[in-house]
């Protein structure tokens, strides 16, 4: 499906989605955390979209919002899509987990939790993946400071 067709199809499912194709080679959808899980489930299960391959899940600190970017691909239709979700709460950011939709999300979400401190609801095993349990702070956030280990140029 072309980006336009995708946009018209997906916009009919859930209101208040933001679509954008600027500054990116993919179609970007920005969704609120409340609608994320519903949208993702539809994207996977709908026959026309069938985004069954989550190939990248990255946490991003947009300052001040924190967010997660999902790169999706369909292995049958070979079209790609980017879904972005942002939350303004830096103290206790929470986003629904997509583990039940794509199993690969389990490790990727643990990584995001580890480095950005975003908590994923309904995640089966949400604990730190790379860092030790007693590590303070979330290193990939932009406001993280560590005078000993970080060399700033």
């Amino acid at each position: 499906m072309t980006n336009e067709a995708l946009q018209s199809l997906i916009s009919s499912w859930i209101p208040d989605l933001e679509f954008s194709e600027e500054e990116s080679q993919f179609l970007n959808i920005t969704v609120t955390p409340e609608h994320l899980h519903q949208l993702m489930k539809d994207l996977k299960t709908n026959k026309e979209t069938s985004f069954d391959y989550l190939f990248c899940l990255s946490g991003v600190d947009w300052q001040p919002e924190l967010g997660v970017v999902y790169h999706l691909e369909s292995t049958t239709h070979r079209h790609m899509l980017v879904v972005k979700v942002k939350t303004a709460d830096r103290e206790n950011p929470t986003i629904d987990s997509v583990c039940d939709i794509w199993k690969t999300a389990e490790f990727h979400e643990r990584e995001v939790f580890d480095f950005f401190g975003i908590t994923f609801n309904n995640h089966p095993n949400l604990k730190r993946l790379f860092l030790t349990e007693e590590w303070e702070g979330f290193p990939l956030r932009k406001d993280y400071e560590d005078e000993i280990n970080m060399v700033i140029k």
Binding site: E22, E23, S24, Q25, F26, N28, D52, Y53, L54, F55, C56, S58, V60, D61, V69, H71, T75, R78, V82, W102, K103, T104, E106, F107, H108, E111, L129, F130, L131, T132, P139, L140, M150, V151, I152, K153
Partner: protein
């Protein structure tokens, strides 16, 4: 060999065992927390981060030229392909026209890297199932590729030969000759791999029907590279999203449908043949021309988000760069193939024996710095 649960009055107890971080089968500093009942594996929980260097954070303070050499240190067995991924992202963002010569040379080097990586994997695979001699035969052939790299790029492993805009310097005059020598040599040696290990009945018993991964699970777990292709999931980035010179060569995507350890083994052996075919198509007609196009000394990417996927020896590597228009990237994310492939280890190892875990882990071909980044 299927194991049927024996009901008995004996009380059996599960216990934990720490496989790694210093264990011969984990190929590095991966730690697996195994829950075992006798010899049967109940749960595998990887514990990562023993060599995490936070390359993604380091990239945020580096310029775009400097990022490239960090990717050498991720998946060090396919360092050239990693470099290429970053360079392609930057070049696509700048919309640079890359000379044909550069693209062909990059492709040849990528395929050599893939063969070298698979040679090492083959040796280690044999070692993991107990045949120690394979290691040396694999290394013998890999050494020849490393010599080619050293002569042209100046280093054997962390080459850093790519720069945004092309190659750091032109290929060495001996490059073509040596590559051809290697191809003729390897064509006689690769069948030996089959006679020594593939056909061996013990090896087949150890690998067939072990660690089965279905196609649906492979896609859901984000498996890529030989792991995905062994499950019948066509995921070769070189076919579906061709980059560099892959659109001008013909090769077959090695596909198997069994999804077991032996299928993953066969896919990799098949890939070595395909890589040789690709090199043979390109090596005789490397176009003349410049080895790089001029870029600004300080590269500034336009504001936006850029994603590039390439096929490394382990699978799909994605480079995701968010730029705000300055000379440093705002956020760099590497989607490493090993990380996704590791996440399915628990799925394929449960119910098998310790020996099965080792065999399936060998065919996942994990490189720990790639996972830990």
């Amino acid at each position: 060999m299927e194991t049927t649960a024996v009901k008995s009055n004996f009380k059996s107890e599960e216990y934990f065992i720490n496989m790694g971080p210093q264990h011969p089968a984990t190929h590095g500093v991966l730690r697996l927390l195994l829950t075992i009942d006798g010899e049967i594996i109940k749960k595998v929980e990887p514990d990562l981060g023993y060599i995490h260097r936070s390359i993604e954070k380091m990239c945020e303070r580096d310029s775009y030229q400097q990022i490239v050499h960090l990717t050498d240190r991720m998946d060090y067995l396919s360092s050239h392909i990693n470099n290429e991924a970053v360079c392609l992202t930057v070049e696509n963002a700048l919309q640079l026209e890359i000379p044909d010569r550069v693209q062909v040379i990059r492709t040849i080097l990528s395929e050599l890297t893939r063969i070298a990586s698979h040679c090492l994997w083959w040796g280690v695979m044999g070692m993991d199932v107990g045949a120690l001699t394979t290691y040396f035969y694999g290394f013998r052939d890999r050494e020849m590729i490393n010599d080619i790299f050293e002569e042209t790029c100046g280093a054997r492993l962390t080459m850093n030969y790519n720069i945004p805009g092309g190659l750091m310097f032109d290929i060495h005059p001996n490059f073509v000759k040596r590559t051809k020598e290697f191809i003729t040599h390897f064509k006689t040696k690769l069948p030996e791999y089959d006679t020594l290990l593939t056909g061996n009945i013990i090896f087949q018993k150890r690998t067939k029907g072990v660690g089965i991964l279905s196609k649906e699970d492979a896609i859901s777990f984000g498996a890529s590279g030989p792991v995905g292709r062994a499950s019948g999931y066509s995921c070769d980035v070189r076919k579906h999203h061709p980059y560099s010179a892959y659109d001008r060569v013909t090769f077959n995507e090695a596909l198997k449908t069994e999804g077991d350890t032996f299928a993953r083994y066969q896919v990799r052996i098949q890939e070595m043949w395909e890589s040789m075919a690709i090199i043979e198509q390109l090596i005789d007609n490397i176009p003349e021309g410049e080895h790089k196009v001029a870029t600004n000394a300080v590269i500034k990417l336009p504001k936006g988000e850029f994603y590039q996927k390439v096929e490394t020896a382990r699978g799909e590597l994605g480079v995701y760069i968010i730029s705000t228009g300055t000379k440093n990237p705002y956020r760099v994310k590497f989607r490493s193939p090993g990380f996704s492939n590791l996440s399915l280890l628990n799925h394929i190892a449960v119910g098998g024996k310790i020996g099965d875990l080792v065999a399936s882990m060998a065919t996942l071909d994990l490189v720990i710095p790639d996972i830990d980044r």
